[in-house]
């Protein structure tokens, strides 16, 4: 069983209230700290792993952290899991990377919050022969051990083609709710859709805007699209929040027939809304179990295995895109809307309950 060490937010605000808030955030994210210092009896080498997480700013990240903690404990190979909570802030993460390097970990698992900010410390870690596993997204450098992630572009393109060709039959109009301008995930997903639309002369994007990866903003935008009076045959939202906002607006508008919606990253809430309101759905997975894949890659790297630069988990069993016919099968009414499909393959019912994911 590994010991879990948490590192507080490196807040730059000096006010006590700010520090209190930041400390509170960190406390929330520190998870189980009940490590026992490792199983020395087995004689196997135990590792010190630095896990630089996004921080539990949303339920996906909370599930990632819990899964990382669980697989590290269950592996029996980790003596100390150094947990760094960046609270969703790239600059905070930069400082934490420096702190992590000072702790001389055997490997670093990093969920980058910015493509360029982390480059320096990542390259320094590699220079010190510390393997760096990029988890979920990448950095602007080739100097890292491996990146473990979904292939967002390919998964999005498949959904986009489903929307354009299967749901619309190659003819119709689409309203698009993108995420945040300039943010990779949003731009990649939007690009995939627009490429699919470009190949279908009968399909046209008639409305588009940024929903800021916010359910509330995406709903406002979708309502305005609906009020525009334009014919909208199908919807695309980049990411779970965008799609939830779209669906919520559609549910309030009560159209005679619900149009198909695609672009979601899958959560129990998206499935629920699709199922309850008969909304045809195309969605990609962005599983929290990715944390387990990242941990496994770190162990492989420490075992001296040669790893590819990109480990694509898109094709892994259970990570495939899902469509309308899969919705009822995957939805689990015991869990809340924030539950990410597949997390219960690693997390116990108790762990899920502690994360507020059980109704």
């Amino acid at each position: 069983m590994p010991g879990i060490t948490s590192f507080k937010l490196n807040s730059r605000l000096v006010l006590a209230v700010t520090l209190a808030g930041a400390l509170a955030t960190t406390t929330a994210c520190s998870g189980d700290d009940g490590g026992d210092g490792g199983d020395k009896a087995s004689g196997e080498k135990k590792y010190k792993i630095a896990y630089l997480a996004q921080g539990t700013t949303n339920s996906w990240a909370a599930q990632m952290d819990a899964i990382m903690d669980t697989v590290a404990k269950e592996s029996g190979k980790v003596d100390d899991l150094l947990y760094f909570d960046a609270a969703g802030n790239a600059e905070t993460q930069l400082g934490q990377l420096e702190s992590a390097l000072n702790q001389r970990p055997d490997a670093i698992i990093l969920t980058p919050l910015g493509k360029s900010a982390a480059v320096g410390p990542v390259e320094r870690a590699m220079a010190q022969d510390i393997p760096v596993i990029l988890c979920a997204s990448g950095v602007d450098s080739e100097d890292y051990t491996t990146q473990v992630a979904m292939n967002t572009y390919e998964a999005s393109l498949a959904q986009a083609k489903w929307l354009v060709n299967d749901a619309l039959g190659g003819k119709g109009t689409i309203a698009v709710v993108d995420g945040i301008a300039g943010v990779d995930t949003s731009e990649i997903m939007g690009k995939a859709l627009r490429e699919a639309v470009a190949e279908a002369p009968g399909v046209e994007i008639v409305q588009e805007g940024y929903g800021q990866f916010s359910v509330s903003d995406s709903k406002k935008l979708s309502q305005t699209f609906l009020a525009s009076g334009k014919q909208i045959d199908a919807w695309w939202g980049s990411g779970g929040e965008s799609v939830t906002g779209i669906m919520s607006a559609l549910v309030d508008a009560k159209p005679a027939q619900m149009p198909p919606v695609a672009g979601a990253t899958l959560s129990n809430g998206v499935l629920r809304m699709s199922l309850e309101n008969d909304i045809p759905l195309g969605a990609m997975q962005f599983p929290a179990t990715l944390a387990a894949d990242c941990f496994e890659a770190a162990m492989d790297a420490l075992a001296g295995e040669e790893l590819p630069k990109f480990i694509d988990v898109t094709a892994k069993d259970g990570n495939e895109n899902i469509y309308t016919e899969d919705v009822a099968k995957l939805y689990n009414e015991e869990y809340t809307d924030d539950y990410i499909i597949g997390s219960d393959s690693i997390l116990s019912a108790d762990q899920l309950a502690k994360l507020n994911l059980v109704r």
Binding site: A24, S59, G209, A227, V251, N356
Partner: protein, 324 residues
């Protein structure tokens, strides 16, 4: 007595200026309304007007509080965090019964009042700059929310609450009625009696107001508390609107409320403007965003146009203030 009379005299001129400013906003709005009718007739559909008023009412309520704080030369950047926390409180505490909903709404408003009071105390009694204090309390509230929710807020928004934004009188949702009622009540509160004069005097010059016998410390605490309470109430309305437990639902309302208040004629430097103008500013800002989306222009252009319109509007207002 002399002091009160002096304040009253100064306020007459200020009231006239505010009235002119409100008329100015209404005049611009009227011209824009005609132009919009010609350019985008779909703007006037019942669906769009309902959606517009609904969105404006949420921004309007939080802007009312922000305007009060701006009037006393303050600033509240914690309103967005309070709105999000308010939604989480509503989702967590309320069941489907009316009693549970009432308790949850009360708890949310008390939370807002508490955060506002903390802001006010730190600003008034510790002399910390409002920008720093409210940025700090925003982090505090968000942090505590994460402690409580661990990233996944529990509960659900009760269906019974949806009526606040789904129902109304014609195209006017109940949330808009609430916003107008609050704006009128606050306007009357600021314009009738001595309380409003003290607010304007404090915003114009804290030192002079203090020497004139105004208990500025208590007044500032009260204003910040009211702002927090209104932000929480806006969060309750937002809960009804979104109908989904989104722990970051309030994101963006901090700066939008400041922009709306300033567009509505509230001076960033304090002591000038009014809550009716601020509410109209919220409506104007929502109309701008609505028209940009309805016009069907590309999403990147929307961002540029939105920024440009806000900057031009604020520059115009600042220019007029300097001329005066």
């Amino acid at each position: 007595m002399t002091t009160t009379a002096g304040l009253a005299h100064a306020d007459t001129g200020a009231a006239r200026a505010v009235a002119l400013r409100v008329l100015g906003v209404l005049g611009v709005a009227a011209v824009a309304a005609v132009a919009t009718a010609l350019w985008l007739p779909q703007f006037y559909t019942a669906t769009n007007l309902n959606s517009l008023l609904l969105q404006a009412s949420i921004l309007g309520i939080v802007t009312l509080g922000q305007a009060l704080v701006l009037l006393v030369a303050g600033l509240d950047l914690s309103v967005a965090a309070v709105m999000s926390a308010s939604l989480v409180v509503v989702a967590s505490l309320s069941g489907e019964g009316l009693g549970g909903i009432a308790v949850a709404v009360l708890a949310a408003v008390l939370l807002g009042l508490g955060v506002g009071t903390l802001n006010g105390v730190l600003v008034a009694y510790r002399g910390v700059a409002p920008f720093i204090v409210t940025l700090g309390t925003a982090a505090l509230v968000s942090g505590l929310q994460l402690v409580y929710t661990r990233g996944a807020p529990p509960g659900a928004i009760p269906e019974r609450m949806r009526g606040l934004t789904q129902d109304g009188i014609g195209v006017v949702p109940w949330s808009a009625v609430l916003c107008v009622a609050l704006a009128v009540a606050l306007h009357v509160g600021l314009r009738r009696g001595t309380y409003g004069r003290r607010v304007y005097a404090t915003g114009t010059s804290l030192g002079v107001a203090r020497r004139a016998g105004v208990r500025t410390d208590l007044l500032l605490v009260g204003i910040y508390a009211l702002c927090g309470g209104l932000a929480a109430l806006a969060g309750v309305v937002l809960s009804s609107y979104v109908g989904y437990v989104d722990g970051a639902a309030g994101k963006g309302y901090d700066l939008d409320s400041v922009a709306a208040a300033v567009i509505g004629g509230v001076a960033f430097t304090g002591g000038k403007g009014g809550v009716l103008g601020a509410a109209l500013g919220a409506l104007a800002l929502t109309v701008v965003l609505n028209v940009l989306v309805l016009s069907g222009i590309g999403s990147h252009v929307q961002l540029i146009a939105r920024g440009a319109i806000i900057v031009v509007a604020l520059a115009f207002i600042a220019h007029r203030a300097i001329k005066k």
